[in-house]
């Protein structure tokens, strides 16, 4: 049985076809984008459920990454008015952890100062590990624009980290 046939069969019977890597990417995206654990959990539940349905028909890994970016960006845009920028509401009780000796203060500063485009570009490029081509396709922009946004976000991130130090 081919992978396509297997995925199709799984899709017909409602079996999840989302990978652990994709779930992890979605979870970290919402934790860092929202900085509010409860809101992030609600958003990731919704997004993962939607992705399960959407990924049934997608066989190409690159297309799947585009679908993940689109789903995350769509959910963020729906919730962004309710996101309090720069305010941490994280308890880490839901089961996620930061690396050792990792400070969230630079991220909180960046979260407050950066634009939506910079925030999304940085998270997609550096946390989800997506390429500029996929980001550009998902967001409907050119690759150069995507690279520009990521570079600008990295500069702002570095500046926020320098200030935090």
């Amino acid at each position: 049985m081919s992978v396509r046939a297997f995925r199709e069969l799984c899709g017909r019977w409602g079996i999840a076809v989302i990978t652990e890597r994709q779930i992890r990417s979605v979870a970290l995206f919402f934790f860092f984008a929202y900085l509010d654990e409860k809101a992030a959990l609600r958003a990731m539940d919704t997004t993962v459920a939607a992705l399960k349905s959407r990924l049934r028909a997608i066989d190409d890994p690159s297309e799947a990454r585009v679908a993940v970016i689109e789903a995350c960006a769509g959910q963020f845009n729906r919730d962004k008015k309710r996101i309090a920028r720069g305010k941490l509401a994280l308890t880490f009780e839901s089961g996620w952890s930061l690396p050792d000796h990792f400070e969230l203060a630079p991220w909180a500063r960046f979260h407050k100062d950066a634009s939506d485009e910079e925030l999304l570009a940085l998270l997609f490029a550096r946390v989800l590990g997506s390429g500029e081509t996929e980001i550009a396709r998902a967001l409907g922009i050119s690759e150069g624009t995507a690279r520009y946004r990521v570079g600008r976000a990295i500069r702002r991130m570095g500046a926020a980290n320098k200030l935090a130090l």
């Binding site: 779930i23 459920a49 990792f102 690759e143 690279r147 570079g151 990295i154 991130m157 320098k162």
Partner: protein, 375 residues
Amino acid sequence: MSGEMDVPDDREASTSKPLRLKRKLTPFLCQELLYEYAVGALDPQRTADIDEYLPSDRASQDALETIRRGLDYSERLAASEISPELMARLTGSENVGSITRRYADWYEWPKTVRWSFAALALSLLISGVAAVVPWGKLPSFFKKADSNTVVLVDIPGTTVATQDSETAKGADAAADDEAQAAAEMETSGDEHITGDEPAADLPPPAVASRPTAGPAVEPSPALAATEAGGAGSAPKEVRPKGFVYRAFMNVANVGEVTSDVVQQLESFGGEKAGEVPLGWRRGAGSYFHFTVPESNENKTLEMLRTYGPVRISKDPHPRLMPAGQVRFILWIEPQAGSEGTVGGADRELPVDSDGAASGAAGELPAGSDGAAGGQ
């Protein structure tokens, strides 16, 4: 976004068109290329140019340091982990929308499951319809209500209905309606008499049509229906409970026999049961409607036989008599060929040895019933 321009892909340009001339870097251009320099996205020529330019520009060095700091932080950010519990929760996460979408998409179901559900739903629908529809009452839904029929009284055990005058007229000739008409006539206690001219001693019709107030006569459902429906009404169906003897005789001398019969009936304890007196003369005949004690029933019959053959029948009747009482309706007519013969009673009913005639032996002739067809 304001202030954001569509940046061309520098890598593609550099690979498709190799630069032959050395491009001189400015501080602005160098800082704009620093991110791609830091991530190694520049072509070797540009990378060498920046390597050559950077030591001479402090601002570019600081910018590169900021970019590397940002890259390092974001790299550590991506090293965050989620627990297996959270992973398992998200793996099985469903929401109402996804569940609904997944199960509501009919065409996503396998064909076998789809057809099975369709067959099951169809079976349930047919079963439900068969169970709910009142098949027994279905014909009444399509039957057009008869506008000429009015139900006056709905008495349990009896069904009484009135018919319009046309129906009553049309039913005159029918045998069933003769019996009904006879029953109706007896509601007054006397049989109705038809004739061209009323008898001189006939009580007023209004009085004769009223029910007898005596103890032997009780209002019956048929009577109630008749009174309520007025003229032209007839009981549709009456369940008989009591009985009445109907007797008919042909004698040569009606007057003498009548007076003798009256005397003997009175000696047997007989009493008139209707409005008219015993031996009431009607034309050439005599009419007797009377009750006698049950103990004298045989004596009465034997007495009647002494005057000639008696045609008698015991007919069911809705009116119940008090215990120990029997009711007779007797007609005495002149013999055939005599003047003034009223009815054509040319049939003789068999009489049992004990004098009690069987109700199944036959019906009285129409003329003997007081010309019931004349109603």
